[in-house]
Assembly symmetry: C2
Homo-oligomer: 490 residues x 2
């Protein structure tokens, strides 16, 4: 990893910073922060690559967004939207400088419990919405691991996933309408708070997952569903990853419909066991683990549990089920510990979020083990096995140039393997900067060309989050910053 | 309704028919039909407006589609895709002539019961897929009323709905990946048979519902869910539409989660009762009706039924529940009879598919009754009250110029009312030709401009289904043809 610290954004051609800043201060002076601290805080996301913007605009109302976009458009200022900055890919980094549009103050929540629709500002924190809807007996399933911090605007811009997708789908599946502002400053409403809508071209879903490159989302109408009455959690040990992943397939064949189906490989379990000094399954050799949640009405859960145990007791080496919320919480703690404890191996974690067909996960794990041998770096892997969405990690120490090079080579090989298996290079993080070098592995040249032409159609001047998705960016060539973010627990 | 019979497609500027036809015959001679019968059959859909294409190309394999598009592109030939022609809006009519691309032979079905994913050709008939997946204990919920005839390519191109959307969502919610060909003949795969996928701009959902204007879909990967174990059907009578629609709101408040929730107004019920000569609820005055289905595991259905009846017995005037599949079928027959029997009032039915917020349905019905008085034409209405998606019909006799004018004026007023209520002019049919004059009611000028620029980006020569969605087309100025289509039951 090279040490070039890219602290200053590259200047786009047409930008006239002084003039643009003057006009911005005149229109929205009390929303504009230009101090070093504000600019640094808005310069990075969870990728920890920092590029300072010229200014941060903390809008307080949706109509201020149109003012900002008109100015950005007029002066050709790059504009990067920001919620909480939990993105893992650098999609919130203002890589070309310009302005960061901080939408976190747009945090109104309105819930219509009859229509089962919530209308939220882009800045609403995911967990805050979930708490409010659950108090009404309703449910908003998407649960990215950053949900205590991430904003719904960001979740929608990245089409966030999480653990419950295997039964409930991803963020996209819950978006009915989007309100926002186009690149030229025109307000838009794509979709409405209605359950059915087929009028005109569907730009709503085009914006979902576009990582702020096509328009600014200021509010959304979200579909809610009845809250499942009951939950059940169980944890199962297997002698090998192959056995655990075979059981994933077997569960579906047995007609089990889990709300969560998480997999942990033995490397991940080893990290957790070393970190806590305790074995997860006492008396067992180190195991690969499946963590499973069932939900629904109580009889449905009972029937599903019976079906699940009937199958699992044949194939698992050991198991434990939660008999209370507290015990369930303890089981989930195992999963969380795996993630944190990896830093005991090395100081840097490359967290990929690849997806392969669920039947091919065992082959992917065989590959991560071969890769571990080949590059000499740990490749602990866990993830959402019910979706085939595995977080493969490559752990290395940043100070070692040679380890960094091995990690980089490893990621490239992994991505190619995933595509060869019929998978996708990103299942929930998005492309941002970190995955941009692999776009051409995933998509054909005509596919990328047509995506670029759509980008051009919506953002002809290229002011919206420039540099993301399409321009291959080598994160490796840039130094990352050492900073503690609110969600860091180590 | 004027009598100009538009039997010949308008010639687009650049088309050189003779040269294009020669090249087509050379490349795909045995797929090309130019006889009058084939051209007529491909000239119309359920709107019954007929415009003859120059030729019909009955492709037998997906790679032939690329050949056709390359030629269409080279010679500037308008290209309209066709499945079964069940569209209600004229979206399958080759309004500018050119070639009709008949995809109905692409009818392969592959089902992966473990991953719960079906891969289907665009020409697969919806009901055929449903039968195959249900035999495996799986379920593909989208159920447009044309499902025995409609193809999945058409369902996806129009984002078809149906009765089960209130619980299960629309076609879009079940599409994981799309395979097809871009306007320039390049093949594409947007999305894959995977449960999570966030790589690049989401052109998959842009194509869904784009009515063949952005690309040709040849195959799709569809999400399947476990088949609900049990169903329950009940029918409830109310003294007024207002009472029935108040009960719809009340049911949601009571925590009922119906899989189907259909509403019939008294005009519709009157049609059915006159047609069959039998009262639906013996001993009751003519009633507005709710038809409700619950599904799930048997205990869930039992618990939901209890909750539903507790509420409904307080507010409904009468009810009947099905104690067998046969009895359930009889209840559904009531709904179907309403649709058919409307032709006893007049020979022409304008079938709108508007959506309003569910709490505003009573206001919409008050409006349809006021409209009935105002224009002197019947406005029987039924539909998917759980989604706020009501089929408002205006019945008139085609021979009467004055009635036709009243019907036209009525539709325009209805559309404006729907938009004023916060609704959408089309919930499941799409825009096609029939709704094109109302696009500007629904969308702002900048919204339409950006939709047009997206169309331009994907189809720069404008060869894909030209004339649809964006160009206001007055169906009224064109004579409809009198033809019996396979799904006509009168």
């Amino acid at each position: 990893m090279k040490t070039k610290k890219s602290k200053k954004g590259a200047k786009p051609k047409s930008i006239n910073v002084a003039k643009a800043m003057k006009a911005l201060r005149k229109r929205l002076g009390d929303r504009v922060a230009e101090d070093d601290n504000s600019r640094f805080n808005a310069s990075l996301d969870n990728l920890r690559l920092s590029v300072l913007p010229h200014a941060v605009i903390q809008v307080q109302a949706a109509d201020e967004v149109a003012v900002v976009l008109k100015l950005a458009n007029k002066y050709g200022v790059p504009l990067t939207c920001r919620g909480a900055g939990t993105s893992a890919t650098g999609s919130a980094v203002p890589i070309h400088g310009g302005w960061v549009l901080d939408l976190s103050a747009l945090n109104r929540i309105e819930i219509n419990p009859v229509a089962r629709i919530a209308t939220v500002g882009a800045g609403v924190v995911t967990a805050d919405l979930q708490a409010q809807v659950e108090a009404l007996g309703l449910f908003f399933p998407p649960d990215p691991s950053s949900k205590k911090y991430s904003t719904l605007g960001g979740n929608i811009a990245c089409n966030a996933g999480g653990m419950r997708c295997v039964k409930y789908g991803v963020t996209r599946d819950y978006v009915l309408g989007l309100e926002g502002v186009l690149a030229d400053g025109s307000p838009f409403q794509f979709g409405l708070p209605l359950k059915k809508y087929v009028s005109g071209l569907n730009l709503r879903d085009l914006l979902i997952g576009s990582e702020g490159t096509l328009g600014v989302i200021t509010a959304a109408n979200l579909k809610l569903i009845p809250k499942p009455e009951k939950r059940w959690t169980g944890m199962f040990a297997f002698k090998s990853e192959a056995a655990a992943l075979k059981a994933v397939v077997g569960l579906f064949q047995a007609g089990v419909n889990p709300s969560i189906l998480e997999f942990l490989d033995r490397q991940s379990v080893g990290c957790a066991e070393r970190y806590t000094g305790k074995k997860i399954f006492e008396g067992q050799p180190r195991s690969s683990i499946l963590l499973i949640e069932l939900d629904g009405c109580s009889v449905e859960v009972r029937e599903q549990r019976k079906r699940l145990l009937e199958y699992m007791l044949e194939v698992a080496a050991a198991y434990r089920e939660a008999r209370s919320e507290l015990q369930a919480e303890k089981l989930w703690q195992v999963r969380r510990t795996c993630s944190q404890s990896m830093f005991s191996i090395a100081d840097t974690k490359l967290n990929e979020d690849v997806v392969v067909p669920i039947e091919k996960q065992a082959e992917l794990i065989r590959y991560t083990l071969a890769l571990k041998k080949e590059i000499g770096l740990a490749t602990p892997t866990f993830g959402h096995a019910g979706d085939g969405n595995l977080h493969v990690h490559i752990m290395y120490n940043r100070a070692s140039q040679s380890d960094a090079e091995k990690a980089q080579a490893g990621i490239e090989k992994l991505m190619q393997k995933v595509v060869d298996l019929g998978g996708v290079i990103t299942g929930e993080h998005g492309i941002g900067l970190a995955k941009s070098p692999f776009m051409a592995m995933q998509h054909t040249a005509p596919e990328i060309a047509v995506m670029r032409s759509v980008k051009q159609a919506l953002d002809p001047l290229g002011i919206l989050n420039p540099g993301k998705i399409f321009d291959p960016f080598e994160v490796w060539d840039h130094e990352l910053v050492d900073v503690t973010l609110p969600w860091d627990h180590r």
